[in-house]
Amino acid sequence: MTPIESTQPPARLELDKISVGYNGALALRELSVQIPHGGQVAVVGPNGAGKSTLFKALVGLLPLRSGRIFIHGEPLGHHKDCVAYVPQREEVDWRFPVSVAEVVMMGRFARLGWTRRPDKSDHAAVLQALEQMNIASLARRPIGDLSGGQQQRVFLARALAQEPHILLMDEPFTGVDAATQEATLALLDHLKKDGVTVMVSTHDLNMAAKRFETVLLLNRELVSYGSPEAAFSPESIQRAFGGQVLFLNGVAAIVDDCCPGGEEHIHHHHETP
């Protein structure tokens, strides 16, 4: 099977039956998805569904057991598009001695390479990204001094400074204040205008259904992919979340232990919008 259909432009992101695993066990099995140019996809699934695994495979950090990834028609590793990644907050070493401006400048490293000094346009891009995320006043502060929401904005600003074609965000709505969630959503709208392809992992079904045009429901393999109405059918939710799902009067409620601190909480999702 060729990745490029003769009449259509290549999909911005195409996964062709990819399987990924750590030491023996498969974390993701035979996943095939095509995401068009400028698409915004919420990747939804329970804990351990392979959301982070998928992202790590997409940036080439985890090797594929089988299958292929194409970015704009080119195999992963030979692609020319710029891919940016906003890590989960827990994955970042916040005690590392770097300032906010230094982290955002890292977004320019794709252009600057290993050694070239940043020029005026790089500094301007960094400043603009800081201003857009409303953290310009924190530029010189060490990242460890910031609040959780501010820390998240630093990495969003870095992604902006990167001017990516594809943006991957791992759980950007988890453990941040409402203002930062809104800032993240506003950024998504902004990116949409620029035609940036975005994948966001979340276990907030409400957010995924309300704010995303496309949902990828995942549980170690593809459960469903499409509009929220289609992807979140009761059967699909049952398949993805299994015993954690509760149906009460046509409303699906999911009980999980996804959040740090082990606090149980409930996501409500209306089956019929």
């Binding site: 750590y22 030491n23 790590k56 940036v59 080439g60 950090l61 590793g77 891919v83 940016a84 990644y85 890590p87 994955e91 970042v92 070493d93 590392f96 001695p97 770097v98 300032s99 230094e102 890292m106 490293f109 794709a110 600057l112 290993w114 050694t115 060490p142 460890g144």
Partner: protein, 275 residues
């Protein structure tokens, strides 16, 4: 004034001072990565793993530093290889290699009947025995390590702070990780002369940890650590001269003194400010 100038009348003390200042600076700069990446155990293990190289070089009648260099680079690459795919945890791999290499070294040295190799010199350094050839070797290797660390500052920063970014930039993260191990091995070898195997880890970790308490920028941390490393070496050597104590130990104790001061009084982060 004479207190400071008197010791410098001797050429061997001049050479010892020069060597320990260079070692103090290089250890502190690469030590910043050792501290930030949690590689302290690795630095210590590398130092001990050098012993068989030194013993074999002695048995073959070649230069001991060359033997140490070969052993250190081999062990660094082996650790890199063992920890590559995460089949065993890094500290486990290091523990195994470190003990095995140390045992091999001890076994070899115990087989040398008339032990002319003074083990204490390898273990604790011999600053006053630094020959001019040794000093050249320390200076050249030190310059190489420093040049690579400064020249490749950006990739080392990215690989240490955010390996995922390195992956999205398609920078060879694995290559830089192993390069850092090799640079660490070179640093350990040049430290052999001054503080010895036993105390290298302290020179790698202590000045860098002190600087970490005093600044929040990596470049500043490296510069400050280098200054502290050099200063500790100078003060330690003078103390060693006047108090007649082992020079390596004196240097490490001075560096530890600076750390304790920073730990107690660092602006905003010291213990006394937290009360």
């Amino acid at each position: 004034m004479n207190i400071l100038l008197d010791p410098l009348a001797y050429v061997f003390i001049q050479r010892g001072l020069a060597a320990s200042v260079i070692v103090g600076i290089i250890c502190a700069v690469i030590g910043s990565y050792v501290v930030l990446r949690g590689m302290a155990f690795l630095g210590d293990a590398l130092a001990h793993a050098i012993l068989p190289g030194v013993a074999i070089a002695y048995l073959m009648g070649t230069n001991l530093t060359v033997g140490a260099l070969v052993a250190a680079v081999i062990v660094a690459l082996l650790i890199g290889l063992f920890t590559r795919q995460g089949t065993i945890r890094e500290d486990t791999a290091i523990g195994i290699l470190f003990a095995a290499a140390l045992s091999l070294g001890v076994a070899l040295i115990s087989s040398i009947r008339t032990s002319a190799v003074d083990l204490t010199h390898i273990l604790f350094g011999n600053i006053l025995g630094v020959s001019s050839t040794d000093l050249w070797m320390v200076a050249i290797l030190g310059l190489v390590v420093l040049a690579v660390i400064i020249g490749l500052y950006r990739p080392f920063l990215v690989v240490s702070f955010d390996p995922t970014l390195a992956a999205t930039l398609r920078w060879p993260g694995e290559f830089f990780r192993i390069l850092l191990l090799v640079l660490l091995a070179l640093t350990v070898v040049i430290s052999l002369q001054t503080v010895g195997i036993g105390l290298v880890a302290a020179m790698l970790v202590t000045p860098a940890a002190t600087a970490y308490l005093l600044t929040r920028r990596l470049a500043h941390m490296m510069a400050l650590a280098a200054g502290l490393g050099a200063l500790s070496s100078i003060i330690g050597l003078y103390i060693s001269y006047y108090a007649s104590i082992a020079s390596g130990a004196a240097i490490v104790l001075v560096a530890t003194g600076f750390f304790l001061l920073a730990f107690l009084f660092a602006p905003g982060r010291g213990l006394v400010w937290k009360r």
